[in-house]
């Protein structure tokens, strides 16, 4: 195929193998100048790997790469940077104790008399941040700023190096809806300047509204590249998963039983020693899903942590199955029937260096049948692991690989398998589908509904309003550590919740429900 002269990037026949996996199998990919090109695929399809090959972070085993119609051997990121490629990684590549400016100029520092010229550096950062409307605080430390700002720092890092081809790997997975809107504006202003963008996401709506074209890959193979205005979201979902996907959740009317969890007037502090929960009260019944809706940072994290014994409460009562828990202790709570899908799967959910079968028994490792006396019964553990991997459709070459070699979505399924298999009375699911593909989301959503119909109580904490609305039976809105109101699902509309999430009192929102 002759290269068109309007291509920013052309990748031909890219193959990349990992032990036991072919992550990319002869993939072709084209990026036109000035376009936003979405890259779509299930978890583990090989999107990140393909982009890492383009950026020189990984070296492809086979295939050729052309940048601006010139063949380039991208052996390391320096080559890519010199050819105008910038990448915002799925897991941010920022040095937490460094300032915003230090992170941006790292590797390309302006100097004066052999010293870093911080004045010029800060000014440069201010200049480009103004030029593209990427608001950051140059002298703040990265560890102290919000995820949204960290992402802007990542984009600035690329722009500072003069990138005109930008790779954004799942930039929206960690952003609030407002932040996503902002990002989209930034992306548009970038393409107006003639820059080209590759955009990885799992959200089909975003593909449709943001991208010009979309390339779908499945199990490492190219499926197709199409214009976004010629396909529907359903068609995209089917292309990506290879089967019919039902995007809407189907569920029966809930049939709630007795109260399992009752929280009253709960107070707790955040890591910065400020009060994050300010008298939170609600209850969850058997056989129902209570959704907690809210903008990030309104106490959701602290709430989950207190309920799972990972954070100390300042005051208030927690009743579980009718008994008051005065000193929540993680192990006790778990033994009494609380399961937890944590919001940060890599930090709290898994031990990344451990094998799958080891991760699958964490928390139950000291009990029969996994342990007998002082010994682990590894044969039994592996057998169980194989069963869970099959039952929960975890994509992996075997149960003996490390958790970190799984793709994000499969890591999440691993946690779900472990937590569901404990047969809990209460399931606390925090952001259960963050960064997960539609096929897996369908699976996770159906599993949550299944657990509900199995008469379990489910507390769902999510930043995705869509997810809250499609799964919950009742919706509690949290704002500044307080429950603003609890609505039955019939009364909960997107606008109403949106207003309440922004702090409007329930009376101000016409026709609010009863106060919880």
């Amino acid at each position: 195929m002759a290269s068109g002269n309007n291509l920013a990037v052309e990748m031909k026949g890219i193959t990349k193998r990992f032990p036991g996996v072919i992550a990319n199998d002869r993939v072709d990919f084209e990026l036109e100048k000035g376009e936003i090109h979405a890259l779509l695929g299930e978890n583990g399809a090989g999107k990140t790997t393909l982009m890492n090959c383009l950026y020189g972070f990984l070296n492809a085993d086979e295939g050729e790469i052309f940048i601006n119609n010139k063949k380039v051997e991208v052996t390391d990121p320096n080559v890519a940077i010199n050819h105008g490629i910038g990448m915002v990684h799925q897991h941010f590549m920022l040095v937490p104790p460094f300032t915003v400016t230090e992170n941006i100029v790292l590797g390309k520092e302006p100097t004066e008399n052999n010293m870093i010229d911080y004045k010029t550096a800060n000014q440069n950062v201010r200049d480009i941040s103004k030029q593209y409307g990427l608001n950051v605080e140059p002298t703040a430390k990265v560890q102290d700023i919000s995820v949204g700002m960290q992402q802007r720092v990542e984009i600035l890092k690329a722009l500072y190096r003069g990138a005109d081809i930008l790779i954004l790997d799942e930039p929206t997975a960690v952003l609030t809806p407002q932040e996503v809107e902002e990002l989209v504006k930034i992306m548009e202003s970038l393409t107006d300047e003639g820059k080209s963008i590759i955009f990885i996401t799992h959200k089909l709506k975003e593909v449709q509204s943001i991208a010009d074209r979309v390339t779908v890959i499945r199990s490492g193979k190219l499926i197709d590249t199409v214009k976004t205005d010629t396909v529907t979201t359903n068609e995209l979902a089917n292309m990506m998963v290879g089967r019919e996907v039902i995007l809407e959740v189907e569920k029966e009317e809930a049939n709630p039983g007795e109260v399992v969890l009752e929280v009253e007037d709960l107070y707790a502090k955040n890591d910065r020693d400020l009060m994050a929960l300010n008298g939170t009260s609600f209850s969850v019944k058997r056989g129902e899903i209570l959704g907690i809706a809210g903008v990030d940072g309104n106490g959701q994290t602290e709430l989950t942590e207190v309920l799972t014994g990972l954070r100390k409460k300042e005051k208030g009562t927690i009743k579980f199955k009718g008994r008051e828990i005065t000193k929540p202790q993680t192990k006790r709570l778990f033994e009494e029937g609380i399961s937890h899908i944590p919001e940060d799967r890599q930090k709290r959910g898994l031990i990344m260096e451990f094998k799958l079968y080891e991760n699958l028994i964490l928390g139950r490792h000291d009990r029969k049948p996994y342990a007998s006396g002082l010994n682990l019964n590894n044969k039994k553990i592996k057998e169980e692991a194989r069963r869970l991997i099959k039952e929960y459709d975890i994509r992996t070459p075997s149960e003996t690989v490390q958790a970190k070699s799984l793709s994000g979505g499969n890591q999440q399924k691993l946690i779900i398998a472990r937590e569901f298999d404990r047969k809990p009375d209460l399931l606390i699911a925090a952001q259960p589908t963050r960064g997960i593909d539609v096929g897996a989301i369908e699976y996770i959503h159906n599993s949550l509904i299944g657990q509900r119909d199995n008469n379990k109580a489910i507390l769902l904490i999510s930043l995705e309003l869509d997810e809250i609305l499609s799964l919950s039976d009742r919706v509690a809105v949290i704002y500044e550590g307080k429950i603003v109101d609890i609505l039955d699902i019939e009364d909960a509309t997107e606008e109403k919740l949106g207003l309440m999430m922004a702090g409007a009192e329930s009376e101000e929102v016409k026709g609010g429900g009863q106060v919880g």
């Binding site: 972070f57 590797g107 010293m115 190096r161």
Partner: protein, 308 residues
């Protein structure tokens, strides 16, 4: 009394000198993400090399040789722990054991004595005009072995390198988040090699300060734990040059106090307690009793590109 005070401070400075130098070495290595407990062994070999250099040539040639040998041994530690990704503690321990063995062996082979070398020429002292005439201060800073001045200057130089230059920023980035450094085109492996070899430079210099500075001969196992105390100073000083210097001075003071107490026959505190001080203070620093001390995030982790 005043004479005692001057002597005490002057001894403090001298005893702190090898600690400051070695701590700076440890700092560069750990800031880049490589733990270097081989400081102890490199110091010992440095001390021997400096003595031998002085014996056969001149004291300053001895110092130069100590520094070069220090860098070579550090390069071996770098090879094993960075390229072969072996356990850094094991590699460091191996070098320490090797150092004790090889210096003992060479001591017997060349000088035919198992305990100590003959006396050699040391580097003498430097007199600083004007300063030496000021009371007390002159007694402390006016005339010292050259290593004292070198160490103090090195603290400033290290601070400048680490916190003011692009090179320092890159060293620190590699020790905090190597994948991030890699993603902006910084050569992680290369930076770590340089940092570890720098630590060999400092540890070699620290060793020389023992055998041709503080003393004028080599004694078997003469580093006697100073490499570890230097690591303690580095931790206590929170991986910063100025902090490490202050910690080293504190430890040097405890040492000087102990020596003074012995010479004037004071026994109100058993000297063992003063000798313990560095370790106790370090443990307190690590447990957060006196200000939390957190190491670089990637300290001790080998970098594997395919596992990002």
């Amino acid at each position: 009394m005043l004479a005692n005070l001057t002597a005490l401070l002057s001894t403090t400075l001298r005893m702190a000198t090898p600690l400051i130098l070695a701590a700076l070495g440890g700092m560069f290595s750990e800031r880049s993400g490589v733990i270097n407990i081989a400081l102890e062994g490199i110091m010992l070999i440095g001390a021997f090399t400096a003595m031998a250099g002085s014996y056969f040539f001149s004291p300053w040639i001895g110092v130069l040789a100590a520094v070069i040998v220090g860098m070579i041994i550090a390069a071996a530690h770098a090879l094993v722990s960075i390229s072969f990704r072996a356990d850094q503690i094991v590699s460091g321990t191996a070098i320490n054991i090797f150092a004790a063995g090889i210096t003992g062996f060479l001591l017997r082979l060349i000088f035919g004595d198992a305990g100590q070398s003959p006396s050699v020429q040391d580097v003498g002292t430097w007199k600083i005009p004007f300063i030496k005439d000021i009371p007390v201060i002159g007694g402390v800073f006016g005339e010292q072995i050259p290593f004292v001045y070198i160490a103090l200057i090195m603290v400033g130089v290290s601070y400048w390198i680490l916190f003011k230059t692009p090179f320092g920023l890159r060293i620190r980035s590699v020790g905090e988040h190597p994948a991030a450094a890699d993603s902006v085109g910084i050569n992680v492996i290369g930076m770590r090699y340089i940092a570890v070899i720098m630590s060999g430079f400092f540890a070699g210099l620290a060793g020389a300060s023992l055998s041709v500075g503080l003393l004028d001969l080599f004694v078997k196992n003469m580093s006697s734990g100073r490499g570890f105390i230097a690591l303690a100073a580095m931790i206590f000083g929170r991986w910063t040059p100025q902090g490490a210097m202050l910690a080293a001075l504190l430890f040097g003071f405890a040492d000087a106090l102990q020596m003074l107490a012995q010479t004037i026959g004071l026994t109100f505190v058993p000297r063992q307690f003063l000798l313990m001080a560095p370790y106790i203070l370090t443990i307190l620093a690590l447990t957060g009793v006196i200000g939390r001390s957190t190491p670089p995030a990637a300290d001790g982790d080998p970098y594997i590109k395919e596992e990002v």
